[in-house]
């Protein structure tokens, strides 16, 4: 049987719903970020945006922000957030001298420390998961 091809329908209610959700998400994120900035002004320990992230997560958990409304726009934001880090990465322009001097040493350091971290975390967590499993079985 021939099925009709899926056609994206942008009727007006659908579109306005999308816009509403986008605005809702933006407001929710701004409020969380504002709370984060306030907390940072009181306790300058962790960057303000991280406080904001925790507030956002907690408000979602206690249903102050509706997760269903936020979901789609948030997914889009997380998928495309990479572009915000480009300016920081381009800063490598200023460090060609450093790379010429120490490039290989830096690569070795990154390599060794990454593999050390991988080994430590995997080994310890396997111990813990196994211990919990045997506890659960007995």
């Amino acid at each position: 049987m021939l099925l009709p091809k899926k056609v994206k329908v942008y009727n007006s209610s659908n579109l306005s719903n999308m816009m509403k959700n986008a605005l809702y998400t933006l407001c929710a994120i701004s409020v969380s970020l504002l709370l984060g900035k306030l907390t940072y002004a009181l306790i300058p320990f962790v960057p303000a945006s991280l406080y904001g992230m925790v507030f956002y997560c907690l408000m979602l958990h206690f249903n102050i922000i509706s997760p269903i409304k936020v979901e789609k726009v948030n997914l889009w934001l997380v998928r495309h957030m990479g572009v915000c880090f480009v300016p920081a990465g381009v800063g490598i322009i200023n460090h060609f001298d450093l790379i010429k001097l120490h490039g290989i040493a830096i690569l070795i350091i990154i390599f060794v420390s990454t593999f050390t971290l991988l080994t430590v975390v995997a080994w310890c967590s396997e111990k813990i998961f196994k211990a919990q499993q045997s506890k659960g079985n007995s």
Partner: protein, 242 residues
């Protein structure tokens, strides 16, 4: 060429518009390339940087000019970090059963990576600011950048080494752990999330869903733990090497 077209009176505004557009265009272009060929090392962030750097050098645009003109992206950085709270919320129920173990292991990992990379850098190169920038390389980019700016280290070195660490861990990590005899999906996922953050998680997401859940859990928690632990550890390490 660009500097000739742009007259000195309105230079900052039009340069800002131009830079913003070209960065967006390059990013979209590299997203399309990655969707077409599906190679994991064709990371959009990496490709955009690799295209932009020669272009800026060719056009004689300095980094301070570029940084000023790309304020829009810097402005969006903080909301983007806040948006990461949603995946954290999605993982909350998973951590409920063994959160003590997971947090313990991850904080041990954060301590180990801070000490190892800091002392190796001090041993080989002996530059404290470089050591700070490199020791923050196992967290996800936004948080790594925010932290290294907080310590007034160079965030561009952190950003670049974060990307390299992501690729190393994501591509070689599963093979390395299989070689060590650790086959459990949960532990492999946790390890790769702790070491190679978003890039490692994205590499796992393609064909290992169980790995991916634990990896995203680990990346968020190790970022938080690094943010909490590094202001305590780094001053100590700085003192120890002076």
């Amino acid at each position: 060429m660009i500097n000739d077209i742009i007259s000195p009176e309105n230079s900052t505004v039009s340069l800002a518009i131009f830079i913003t557009l070209i960065t967006l265009f390059l990013y979209q272009f590299s997203m399309k390339i990655q969707q077409k060929w599906q190679f994991i090392w064709l990371n959009p962030m990496l490709i955009t940087i690799l295209f932009l750097v020669p272009f800026l050098l060719y056009q004689n645009i300095t980094y301070s000019q570029y940084h000023q003109s790309s304020q829009l992206f810097t402005l969006l950085l903080e909301p983007a970090i806040v948006a990461l709270g949603f995946p954290l919320y999605q993982q909350l129920h998973q951590i409920r059963y063994h959160w003590q173990g997971i947090i313990g292991v991850l904080s041990l990992g954060v301590l180990v990576v801070l000490c190892v990379s800091f002392s190796m850098t001090m041993f080989y190169i002996y530059q404290p600011s470089l050591a700070i920038a490199l020791s923050l390389k196992s967290v996800t980019t936004p948080i790594g950048i925010a932290l290294s700016e907080q310590f007034s280290a160079d965030s561009s070195i952190t950003a670049f080494s974060i990307i390299i660490a992501g690729f190393i861990g994501g591509i070689l990590g599963p093979k390395w752990l299989d070689l060590l005899g650790i086959h459990c999906a949960k532990s492999q996922g946790l390890a790769i999330g702790a070491a190679s953050h978003v890039i490692g998680t994205a590499i796992l997401a393609k064909d290992k869903p169980e790995h991916c859940a634990y990896s995203s859990l680990a990346l968020i928690f190790s970022a938080l733990l690094t943010a909490i632990l590094s202001p305590l550890i780094i001053p100590l390490l700085l003192k120890a090497f002076n």
